[in-house]
């Protein structure tokens, strides 16, 4: 596994939905090495913004040496990226993280909100039977049509405007779906519910987590999550989302909220 620091050329940039952008980058080495579920660190051109923005890989064109990122504008860094045009450069490091294992089993491919993009490449690469379940806030169903090329797609919207009213698990129940393995990326409350769903049904389950990162390569220990077992880096119960993750087996991670020292002392939880 290698990672590269490159000046990648933007070949395409498009706002596919309000505030959500699709970006194709031509890379030298990164695309050839990248796997579904990995991410890139994108560096700002503004020197006052020090930290790279970790963005998951949505699609990989290995022959064409290009990767696609689909990201939401969440602050000044992503806003800057969204203003870049074809022909301009982006300073990137990658591919980073472990990626999803590709198992020959009937699969749920579940994405919630801005957790949907990494599931596109995964859905493409999974050979077996798969059902794609996507959760959205409202009826703005970005990437849904593209996902339909890889298997049946079921949607849930919080406002009930399209598909099942509720969350991805409501959509699974309403449509009477079943599978042997779950792959999921999305907000932590969704992942927590999926973890419990998988445990009850004794299903194999892989979750892609998110945490604030600094180095992105495993050196700074900023982006840790709680793990059930002692990890092999620090030998405590913390795993690095950027290095051991972002994809974890569900039973490997503890998704309950952190309780800080201060909270303990003050009797809060």
């Amino acid at each position: 596994m290698s990672r590269y620091k490159e000046m990648a050329v933007i070949s395409e940039q498009q706002e596919i939905s309000p505030g959500i952008f699709s970006l194709w980058l031509e890379t030298k080495e990164i695309a050839g090495e990248a796997k579904a579920g990995q991410f890139l660190s994108l560096y700002s051109g503004d020197e006052s913004r020090l930290l790279p923005r970790p963005i998951s890989i949505c699609e990989i064109d290995r022959e064409g040496n290009a990767v696609r990122l689909v990201y939401r504008v969440a602050g000044k860094g992503t806003q800057e990226f969204s203003g870049k045009r074809p022909g301009e450069f982006l300073d990137v490091v990658g591919p980073l993280g472990n990626g999803f294992p590709l198992l020959p089993k009937k699969a749920f491919v579940i994405g919630g909100g801005i957790g949907i993009p990494p599931m596109v490449q995964l859905a493409r690469e999974l050979d077996g039977e798969k059902q794609i379940v996507l959760g959205y806030r409202d009826g703005d169903l970005f990437l849904k049509e593209e996902m339909e090329a890889f298997g049946p797609v079921f949607c849930a919207t919080e406002d009930g405007s399209r598909g099942t009213r509720g969350n991805v698990l409501d959509a699974i129940r309403e449509n009477g779906l079943d599978a042997e393995v779950i792959y999921a990326c999305g907000p932590t409350p969704m992942l927590r519910a999926i973890k419990e769903f998988a445990r009850e049904r004794e299903m194999e389950c892989y979750l892609s987590l998110e945490e604030r990162m600094a180095c992105g390569i495993g050196a700074c220990l900023a982006c840790v999550c709680k793990s059930m077992d002692v990890d092999h880096h620090t030998y405590v119960k913390n795993k690095r989302v950027c290095a051991e993750g972002p994809v974890f087996k569900a039973e490997e991670v503890d998704l309950s909220p952190w309780i800080s020292q201060t909270d303990k002392k003050e009797g809060r939880s």
């Binding site: 050196a219 900023a222 030998y235």
Partner: protein
């Protein structure tokens, strides 16, 4: 041929650039990007007697021109560190500086003793971490406590000791003198400045620990002033750090009185920042016809 060698308490560095503790792990991750042998020294993340789990997440936040961190010194403890990290670093032609942390004076002394027979060149004693409840900065904000722990650690150390000073003090000169009086061989400064950020949308602290250490270019003028003051206060060699991103920044610290410099947060923005800084120093020397970097240490009075 430009001479970039500098000397810290009898240890000769091929160039004045090292990594700042906590930003570089033990070098393994960054060794994929460049040869660690291109750096004067690698300074490891703090290591304690036992594994420390660190603080809850979120542990970091970006600020304008800087960042806040409250990692809380997560580390695997000295046993794993000796078996895994030191043999790894030994493969490279660079000096090894181990950052040591603890909750009690005895903790520091035990770690320092266990490192006595290891191929480690210098020990950096972390008495300035603002993000742990015990130890850390508790020893670094009171001159008497600093002098006492320095003396005790020095008694147990086989390698020269660097006392890493906190900027969160009233008079850095007093702290520099206290470390010297305790027997410090070298000083390093500054550790991070205690700061805070609030998320107004969620109405919470941006960092789970509430307070966190500010680093990055935003703190460089403060760091530079403190390095200058420490250099005025004591004769000891100083490792200057705080916001250094390139050769020009490093030269400011050297001219203010630093013998060596450390690159920290800049590595997150550019994994090659430390190497670029070393090259930038040589370019500066070439531009101004400087044959020996030592001639410029503290040249601005």
């Amino acid at each position: 041929m430009r001479n970039t060698k500098v000397n810290l308490a009898g240890v000769e560095l091929k160039n004045p650039v090292m990594t700042a503790s906590g930003t570089f792990g033990s070098g393994a991750e960054y060794s994929e990007f460049a040869d660690l042998g291109g750096l004067g020294a690698v300074v490891t993340k703090g290591v304690a007697r036992e594994p420390w789990p660190g603080n809850p997440a979120p542990r970091i936040a970006e600020t304008r021109g800087g960042m806040l961190n409250a990692i809380g010194l997560q580390n695997p403890g000295i046993e794993v560190f000796r078996k895994r990290d030191i043999p790894f670093l030994k493969k490279y032609d660079t000096k090894i500086i181990v950052n040591v942390c603890g909750k009690t004076v005895e903790d520091y002394c035990q770690v320092v003793e266990e490192l006595g027979d290891e191929p480690v060149d210098l020990l950096e004693i972390n008495v300035s971490c603002p993000n742990v409840k015990e130890g850390g900065i508790a020893f670094g904000q009171n001159p008497k406590a600093l002098e006492a722990i320095t003396r005790e650690v020095k008694r147990h150390a086989r390698q020269p000791i660097i006392m890493k000073l906190s900027p969160n003090v009233t008079d850095i000169g007093d702290m520099a003198r206290a470390a010297r009086d305790g027997g410090a061989d070298v000083l390093s400064l500054i550790n991070t400045l205690t700061g805070m950020k609030i998320d107004i949308h969620r109405r919470t602290f941006a960092i789970a620990n509430k307070t966190a250490g500010l680093s990055g270019p935003a703190i460089k003028p403060v760091a530079l002033r403190m390095v200058y003051q420490a250099a005025q206060a004591v004769e000891l060699p100083i490792i200057g750090m705080g916001g250094i991103e390139n050769g020009g920044d490093a030269m400011e610290f050297i001219l203010a009185g630093a013998t060596a410099v450390a690159v920290g947060t800049a590595t997150f923005r550019n994994p090659l920042a430390a190497w670029d800084t070393a090259r930038g120093i040589v370019e500066y020397m070439e531009k101004y016809g400087i044959s020996d970097i030592k001639d410029l240490i503290g040249a601005v009075k």
